[in-house]
């Protein structure tokens, strides 16, 4: 089944996203890592839809929603990063640990 290969790719993408999110220091890169994960989800949805062939093409519809929301989230994310950059002159996520013990 070809769907398995799609799924493997999606899983790899997702894992890359997780890795990126965990290790990249620059906030923008973190944001991109999230995008990667969301796109892995999209790939997943489309791949499943290609097998399932639901009457309403649910997988594709779902994917479109995800894309839309992802765009919105990136918008929010960039806004926040911009805000922080203005205040701190840095987009490095390490710099944010004011509220510790």
């Amino acid at each position: 089944m070809i769907v398995n290969q799609f799924l493997v790719v999606a899983a790899a993408l997702f894992s890359l996203g997780v890795y990126g999110l965990l290790v990249r220091r620059n906030a923008v890169m973190v944001l991109l890592a999230v995008e990667l994960m969301l796109n892995a989800v999209n790939l997943n949805l489309i791949a499943f839809e290609s097998v399932l062939r639901t009457p309403e093409a649910l997988g594709q519809i779902f994917a479109i929603f995800v894309i839309t929301v992802a765009a919105a989230e990136v918008g929010i994310g960039l806004a926040i990063i911009l805000l922080i950059f203005r205040n701190r002159r840095s987009a490095n996520v390490d710099d944010f640990n004011l509220m510790k013990l």
């Binding site: 965990l22 290790v23 490095n92």
Partner: protein, 691 residues
């Protein structure tokens, strides 16, 4: 109809043979109440009266004496068999038809009437005496209030128709005793004496209370009549509880009647004012133990007496007789070396109580009680006499006295009468009662104890002679010039001297006073027949032995102390090696007692406190502290940082991933994300593992 009868009829269903004795028995309840009324009046009004409230106390006792005398004569004429007035104060339904009833009331039978009369008679005289003795003392009001409290409690005790009321009265007299011993409480020594008396008695009271529970719960009733009937009926099933109850009761009696080794409180109790010693620690309160034995006589006689205990070494009766015998001799010896006049009398009292206890235990119901009866008069007389002396010389110590016979003629004469009665010189009261005890011991076959009692008689005579010699003969060694006491004090002495002389004739075997019969008959007026032995005629042979011992004692005493009572040598003659130090140290009983208390209670108390503070509280605080520490660990070590730690561990385990994973430690947000992922992975892994 009077209110007391109405009250009695409330509980009529529980009353036994109501009102057989007529009006006087119904009014007898007043005796139990009047001292309490006096108590309240003294507290309320006493302060501003001439005798600081003593008037009320005397009046109450006067009333009691009237009632007691009427009862006494009615009983003497055979008018009263047994009359119990009870009203219920509490009831617990045990089982249907077998309610556990608590009652207060009064019992009118031969035994209680005798006690009523003794308490009222001696009490009244001592109260009157105290009006003079305590004049101008501190807290006279409080003194008379406590005195009245004592009288009331004592009457409640002797009038008790059941064990519960007996306990109330019993502890009540204990309380009064505590208050009066500690009358001069500014001096902590007196307070300690009071504590000692209370606590020693309290130890014994454990016996009384447990004994009451055994008998009451075992037999199913706390009423003496029922207990005694059950004992007389001799149900085999009751044997165990009867023996246990009897022994425990005896423990209680030992405390109150100062039997060896629980006698230690009584000599110290002399710290109270002398009238207190006279009434409570000689004539009445300390006889409560003997009274209790007599009240429960059937239990010992029919059920418990012959039971073997301690693995068959000894019978219950044997134990009791033995303790009585030890007490009568050992305590008598202590009186030999005491320098405090009151302590001499105190030890004498303990010794005489030993006689009574021995007699009652051996089966001499009448003998023991008769000695109680006569002893009350002459011992009260002696104490009051001693009080009179002390009042005059302001010291208890015989080394501060001497030669008082000229200065205090009345005191001297009455003291001599009392001493002779105590020593058992014919025909004074003590002779007859002691003779009856000797006869009983002889009849019951306690030969050894008989000779112990004879030795005791010798010792009694000896120490009394010594006391008289040191106090009234020789030269005065104290300060100032002693004066005879006022009439209000000497009057009671003379009044008491009368029964000290003649009371013995009331129970000379074979002698009856017409319709008045004699002491034996009076006491026999009770529900359960006793079956004790009554000799038909005096046994003059035994009497001679007793009398001989007494005379010998007096003679020897006079020999040693009489002529040169003042000199040091006179006293030194007594200093027999070993025995003298032993006696001076009071057989080390106080030391032993304190050692026991000191070595157990003190450390135990501290240990408990330590356990509380460091173990139990320690656990509690420890749980608290551990929780807080756990909080610190969870928050600081796991929640805020633990992912580092987790990944450090992972990194060490896996070199390949190491370098990459270590980067995880860089940012806090990413730590969180890592924690997040770990959680997700664990959940996923759980699915993998458990499915």
């Amino acid at each position: 109809m009077n209110p007391l009868v109405l009250a009695a009829e409330e509980g009529a269903e529980h009353a036994v043979e109501l009102a057989a004795g007529g009006a006087a028995t119904q009014w007898a309840g007043l005796m139990l109440v009047s001292p309490f009324v006096a108590f309240l009046l003294i507290i309320w009004l006493g302060k501003n009266m001439k005798y600081k409230g003593g008037e009320f106390a005397v009046a109450a006792m006067g009333l009691n004496l009237v009632i007691a005398t009427i009862l006494f004569f009615q009983n003497a004429q055979g008018g009263i068999l047994n009359d119990t007035h009870i009203f219920e104060i509490g009831r617990i339904g045990l089982f249907e038809g077998r309610d556990l009833v608590f009652e207060l009331g009064w019992m009118v039978d031969g035994l209680s009437i005798m006690m009523y009369w003794v308490v009222a008679f001696v009490g009244l005289l001592v109260f009157i005496y105290a009006l003079g003795y305590m004049h101008g003392d501190v807290r006279v009001t409080m003194f008379f209030a406590s005195f009245s409290l004592f009288a009331g409690a004592m009457l409640i005790l002797v009038g008790a128709p059941n064990l519960i009321q007996l306990i109330i009265g019993w502890e009540g007299v204990g309380l009064a005793s505590y208050l009066l011993i500690g009358h001069y409480w500014e001096d902590l020594d007196n307070v300690r004496s009071g504590n000692k008396a209370f606590l020693t008695n309290k130890v014994a009271d454990v016996g009384l209370i447990l004994g009451a529970i055994f008998l009451g719960m075992g037999i199913g009733d706390f009423r003496f009549t029922h207990i005694n009937e059950a004992a007389a009926a001799g149900e085999a099933g009751l044997q165990t509880v009867a023996v246990a109850g009897a022994l425990l009761m005896f423990l209680g009696a030992m405390g109150k009647s100062a039997q060896f080794p629980l006698h230690i409180w009584l000599p110290d109790a002399m710290a109270g004012p002398t009238p207190v010693s006279a009434l409570m620690h000689a004539a009445t309160m300390v006889t409560a133990g003997v009274y209790l034995m007599a009240r429960l006589f059937p239990v010992y006689q029919y059920m418990a007496g012959e039971a073997e205990i301690l693995g068959g070494i000894i019978t219950v009766r044997g134990l009791m007789v033995g303790i009585g015998a030890i007490t009568l001799l050992a305590m008598g010896l202590l009186a030999l070396v005491a320098n405090d006049l009151k302590k001499v009398l105190a030890y004498s009292t303990v010794s005489q109580l030993g006689y009574m206890m021995t007699a009652v235990a051996a089966g001499g119901y009448t003998a023991g009680l008769f000695h109680l009866f006569t002893h009350a008069f002459f011992k009260a007389l002696l104490f009051l006499g001693a009080g009179s002396v002390i009042h005059a010389v302001h010291s208890n110590n015989m080394t501060d006295m001497g030669g008082l016979r000229k200065d205090m003629p009345h005191t001297f004469r009455t003291f001599i009468i009392g001493s002779l009665a105590l020593a058992g010189i014919i025909p004074l009261a003590g002779f007859w009662s002691k003779d009856e005890i000797l006869a009983t011991l002889d009849y019951e076959g306690y030969t050894f104890v008989f000779w112990v009692a004879v030795a005791g008689a010798f010792v009694t005579a000896f120490y009394m002679t010594r006391a008289i010699a040191l106090t009234f003969f020789g030269t005065y060694k104290g300060h100032g010039h002693p004066h005879e006491s006022p009439t209000i004090m000497t009057g009671p002495l003379w009044v008491l001297a009368v029964p000290s002389v003649i009371a013995g004739f009331l129970n000379v075997p074979g002698l009856e006073f017409g319709s008045f019969h004699n002491f034996t008959t009076w006491l026999a007026a009770r529900v359960v027949p006793l079956g004790d032995h009554h000799p038909e005629a005096p046994d003059w042979g035994l009497a001679a032995i007793g009398l001989g011992a007494a005379v010998l004692g007096i003679a020897l005493g006079w020999l040693v102390f009489g002529r040169d009572a003042d000199t040091q040598e006179a006293r030194d003659r007594l200093e027999i090696p070993v025995l003298y130090p032993l006696l001076r140290a009071k057989y080390f009983m106080d030391h032993i007692a304190w050692a026991i208390v000191g070595f157990t209670m003190g450390p135990a108390a501290r240990a408990m406190n330590w356990v509380n503070t460091y173990i139990l509280d320690g656990i509690v605080n420890g749980v608290g502290a551990i929780t807080m520490a756990l909080g610190r660990f969870v928050y600081g070590g796991v929640d805020q940082r633990g992912i580092d730690g987790f990944f450090n561990g992972v990194a060490m385990a896996s070199d390949a991933a190491g370098s990459a994973m270590r980067k995880l430690q860089t940012g806090r947000v990413q730590q969180y994300a890592a924690g997040f992922m770990v959680g997700a992975l664990v959940l996923v892994a759980a699915v993998a593992i458990f499915r």
